[in-house]
């Protein structure tokens, strides 16, 4: 059976909170919340992320299981995908019983951005409903690889079809279609993650007293009582951060909500990378159908664009610039200061 997921304590509990309002990059309006309210598989679930199967999901349980025991204190944001390739239409590469779980997490929980990508192959039993969120029978999940996110480029490839394009620094390209079982909102989360990873956010602080206004999976889309009638109808779409302020709750698993970037470095990355990506786009998209699994080594110059900020280092406990140290100092509590490389017990 799936084994214990380490209990995570709310690390800012009972601490004084200070709300900080800043300007944020514009994100797509979360209108989809309108549609998804009725879809929430609540049954007493307090955390909508868990309800949607994107937090504490099957992949998370594998990664946190005694066998791997990786990043035990970090939240995993995950979903189930179908690997596809370009044809006249998108074509499934593998038979329907084989899907791919994709997730992001942080090697150290106090990192402001996820820095690890997780990929696992999932084999469903014949005739089994491929429900990611609490399936009747747990499928066979094989963790295949973990990649530092700084060596990966994630893009939204086809909004309509809910397809992400994942490109590694070695030019291995995957097209991943969000499994139809996931509600629309889950793709919005991924879209949002892609944007945050590319553009970053304007805060780097990790002061637990500060209530951040960004959260990949808004926590209070349903109240603990199960009332999911929080309305986003009247929130202006042009001010998503405001709407998110209202969505923000004091949830426990906030690592993924703490998605803040070192903007200076990240902007540099995103502008470089987006330019180069544009340049490559035409040619790469004309690739053969094997593009999704065979590396292309024609143009590796874009690798140089994989610059990354101090926050994305594997081991943030090394020397840090003062500006970062000050923010680190604010969060150095026992739960937040794991040993070097400390994701093992």
């Amino acid at each position: 059976m799936l084994s214990s997921v380490p209990h995570r304590k709310p690390w800012w509990k009972s601490k004084k909170t200070v709300k900080v309002t800043r300007s944020y990059p514009t994100f797509p309006p979360l209108n989809a919340w309108e549609e998804c309210r009725g879809l929430l598989p609540v049954d007493g679930e307090l955390n909508p992320g868990v309800g949607f199967g994107v937090e504490d999901g099957l992949l998370c349980q594998v990664v946190h299981s005694p066998e791997f025991n990786l990043f035990p204190n970090s939240v995993v944001f995950e979903s189930n995908f179908v690997q596809v390739r370009r044809g006249r239409n998108w074509i499934d590469i593998y038979k329907a019983s084989n899907t791919m779980a994709l997730g992001v997490t942080s090697s150290v929980p106090c990192l402001p951005l996820p820095n690890i990508l997780l990929m696992a192959s999932v084999k469903w039993y014949q005739g089994q409903s491929q429900t990611w969120n609490k399936p009747s029978t747990i499928p066979n999940i094989i963790l295949k690889r973990i990649l530092p996110l700084k060596f990966v480029e994630l893009q939204v490839c086809d909004h309509l079809q809910r397809i992400l394009r994942l490109r590694t620094v070695t030019e291995k390209i995957y097209y991943l279609k969000l499994h139809p079982d996931h509600p629309e909102i889950v793709f919005h989360f991924w879209t949002r993650l892609v944007q945050i990873l590319q553009k970053g956010l304007s805060i780097t602080t990790k002061d637990p007293r500060i209530l951040f206004t960004h959260c990949l999976v808004p926590k209070n889309c349903c109240s603990p009582s199960g009332d999911s009638q929080v309305s986003y109808k009247n929130l202006p779409a042009s001010q998503p951060s405001d709407s998110l302020i209202q969505l923000m709750a004091k949830g426990e698993r906030e690592a993924l909500s703490q998605i803040f970037a070192d903007l200076h470095q990240k902007n540099q990355f995103s502008s470089q990378s987006s330019k180069k990506t544009e340049t490559n786009k035409d040619t790469s998209e004309k690739e053969t159908p094997c593009e999704d699994c065979i590396p292309c080594t024609r143009d590796l110059s874009w690798r140089d664009s994989f610059t990354f900020g101090e926050w994305e280092r594997e081991n943030p406990s090394g020397l840090q610039p003062l500006s970062l140290l000050s923010t680190l100092a604010a969060c150095t509590g026992p739960q937040l200061a794991p040993p070097i490389g400390g994701f093992d017990p």
Partner: protein, 213 residues
């Protein structure tokens, strides 16, 4: 209830292009893939073996060999029960830098970690740059087990992994490894628990079909 265990990590480590991923593929899938993507981060493989009548799951972590990814590798040593340090017998430079890799492994891992030195690509005899005796001498000097393998022909691949596992197993028997300390990368439990709890990657000698990602 028969005991089962898994060695949580057996590492493959060293220079890029020496054939670590091919060795893993040969061991887990019994196939050879001449062109393999450069490994970034860590790739996982697993296989059940039997030693002394006990089912043991070897979980193998294939790490990136390229210098630029090496800082990542270092952080994963912790909790490894064994490591395979691989060089390419047709590339002298991969042999010459073994000391650096060995120091790296010893510095960042459990001092009892079993390390096997592998001279891979033994099928390319005509291009050999490192004599077998040199490998043996290096292994003797540093207290390693040594073997030459060929991921292409599968020569000694099985033996390399299984001998490493046996060595780990012997250390457990001798009490060198504290099996209660998971940091040693070993976990023992009832057979069903070991196989179920580790359903991820429990290929039992054969990869689950489908082969996505």
């Amino acid at each position: 209830c028969p005991l089962s265990m898994f060695f949580r990590k057996v590492f493959l480590n060293s220079f890029s292009g020496v054939g670590k991923s091919c060795l893993l593929l040969q061991f887990t899938d019994k196939r050879f893939q001449p062109v393999h993507d450069l490994t970034i981060g860590v790739e996982f493989g697993a296989r059940m073996i039997t030693i002394d009548g006990k089912q043991i799951k070897l979980q193998i972590w294939d790490t990136a060999g390229q210098e630029s990814f090496r800082s990542i590798t270092r952080s994963y040593y912790r909790g490894a029960a064994g490591a395979l340090l691989v060089y390419d017998i047709t590339r002298r430079d991969t042999f010459n830098h073994l000391t650096t890799w060995l120091e790296d492994a010893r510095q960042h891992s459990n001092s009892n970690m079993v390390i096997m030195l592998i001279g891979n690509k033994s099928d390319l005899e005509s291009r050999r740059e490192v004599k077998k005796e040199e490998g043996e001498a290096f292994a003797r000097e540093h207290g390693l087990i040594f073997m030459e393998t060929s991921a292409k022909t599968a020569s000694n691949v099985e033996e390399a992994f299984i001998n490493t596992a046996k060595e780990i197993y012997e250390k457990i028997q001798e009490g060198v490894f504290d099996i209660n300390n998971e940091a040693n990368g070993i976990k023992i439990g009832p057979q069903h628990a070991a196989t179920n709890a580790t359903h991820a990657g429990s290929q039992g000698g054969q990869q689950a079909g489908g082969g996505c990602c």
